[in-house]
Symmetry: C2
Subunit: 264 residues, 2 copies
DNA sequence: GACCCCTATTAACCTATGTTATAGATGGTT
DNA sequence: AACCATCTATAACATAGGTTAATAGGGGTC
């Protein structure tokens, strides 16, 4: 069971979609071709700057990045973390200019394709389009949950929540081992993600360590008791379902899209 | 110029899309048919409860609603305001259960259709699908901007920002007259939208009144100087472009989707 | 017209978090 | 090994915004 099946596509995007929906060979090869053009970037490099024209649609193959928005005076909010396998602002590419920036946190490998391909994809592969729409909805759900965090959770709660969120998302792509994962993130970035000051994030992390919920060693973070951490962060199981792959999407697509509507 | 042209669809959704993209007759009649099933709801009624199974895809024809998320202990965050013409969580319907609730703030008229129709739409009308995708991206942009507000703007700034946002969005659907519009919202709801306490929202509104930026009379709010209010809220012009309808989407769709790709 | 519920308003007080400042780690570079 | 830039850590102090509580208005309804 550890080995990939023969037919699994090589693209991270394809692999991700395959985890909740079976793809035809045509769909797979379209996706593989989409991701053919791969670029490499150093740590802390801007893939997109706020106010810039959008270029390509990008898929993160390796590494981390952040999507962030800034105010004129420099205050900054990290909107979301881009993890391996994530699409970077899929639908945003329909916009003229970017309302946010994207910056790598680690050396990164990124697949690029032209936005026109999206429309092509919509015409040729409706099931893929729906799958990607689902993916986009998931991202919106994550952002909304972060809004709830920043608006209504205490510093301790929201920090705990974010750690659990990252743990879950990284688990799906196999980057967590025994509750331990790499967190290539400075405290400043955590602060900007959680709407806190850097000093207070430091205090809060210390408290989580003192309670014994987490261990930090360099960029390695270990979560000792996910259940308890999730409970501190009031991590919602519903929202968790969203992050993980729902089998029913496949059913919906297979059952509903391929049947000719009888009533009309 | 005040009269609608003959060919404009009667559905709010169709009218909204028409504002940035021309539709074929087939597309229009599909949209009109989508919105045939209209239901009416009282003020303060739940269209969707957090944790519930999704039912229909809904389009707001008349009235206001909020999308909100709650913590187990009752703390609540308003994620977004649903205004006339808005789709209520379009892509969310691909999920199994709702991670948020939707509640009307006024008597409302809502069009309902089955989520299967989305997939049908993806297959039959790729241009509509892309237009709706764009609409979804816009919503994500609004939520991300609110995250920036709640995370990094002061109470005064975020309140000013929200008022300008609502003003802009309502302008598009013709619900603002000389800087005045109806704000069918209690201070508790404003507080929940902005991550503030009800007392502090009250203080902040008072300050905005004292400065002379707004007038409140019952549910009528008047913005005297939008420019200045926008500047207090550090309202971003980029983000504004997103909210308003970009002509380039039409060009992208017309030019790119209808041309046979020569190279392949 | 008295009663109620809901919402707005304000004052007084409190606390979670921000700010400023300093020192110590860490890691890359010459 | 000395240097520099970043990052973490902590203390001391400041404040934006939260909490509690009390009052007042406004619109139903019996």
């Amino acid at each position: 069971m550890t080995r990939a099946q023969a037919n699994i596509p090589s693209s991270p995007l394809g692999r991700k979609i395959t985890s909740y929906m079976s793809l035809t060979d045509e769909e797979k090869s379209f996706l593989n071709e989409l991701e053919r053009n791969v670029t490499r970037h150093g740590s802390r490099s801007d893939l997109l700057q706020q106010g810039e024209r959008y270029g390509c649609v990008r898929v993160m193959r390796k590494g981390w990045a952040i999507r962030h928005k800034a105010l004129p005076d420099g205050r900054r909010q990290v909107v979301n973390f881009v993890l391996p396998g994530d699409i970077i602002g899929f639908y945003c590419n329909l916009f003229e200019t970017a309302d946010h920036g994207v910056t790598t946190l680690t050396p990164a490998e990124v697949a690029n394709f032209q936005p026109e391909r999206i429309i092509e994809l919509f015409k040729l592969f409706p099931r893929l389009a729906a799958a990607l729409a689902w993916s986009g909805a998931k991202e919106e759900a994550i952002i909304a949950e972060r809004l709830l965090s920043v608006g209504r959770r205490t510093a301790l709660e929201r920090t705990a929540h974010l750690i659990v969120e990252l743990l879950r998302r990284l688990s799906i792509v196999g980057l967590v081992e025994e509750g331990r994962f790499t967190l290539p993130v400075t405290q400043e970035i955590l602060a900007d993600a959680l709407g806190l000051s850097i000093v207070h994030i430091n205090r809060t992390l210390r408290r989580l360590r003192d309670i014994g919920l987490i261990d930090l060693a360099g960029q390695q973070i270990t979560v000792h008791d996910v259940k308890q951490l999730a409970s501190v962060g009031q991590f919602d199981e519903l929202y968790l379902h969203l992050i993980q792959a729902p089998k029913q999407l496949e059913h919906a697509l297979d059952a509903k899209s391929d049947r000719k509507r009888a009533g009309d």
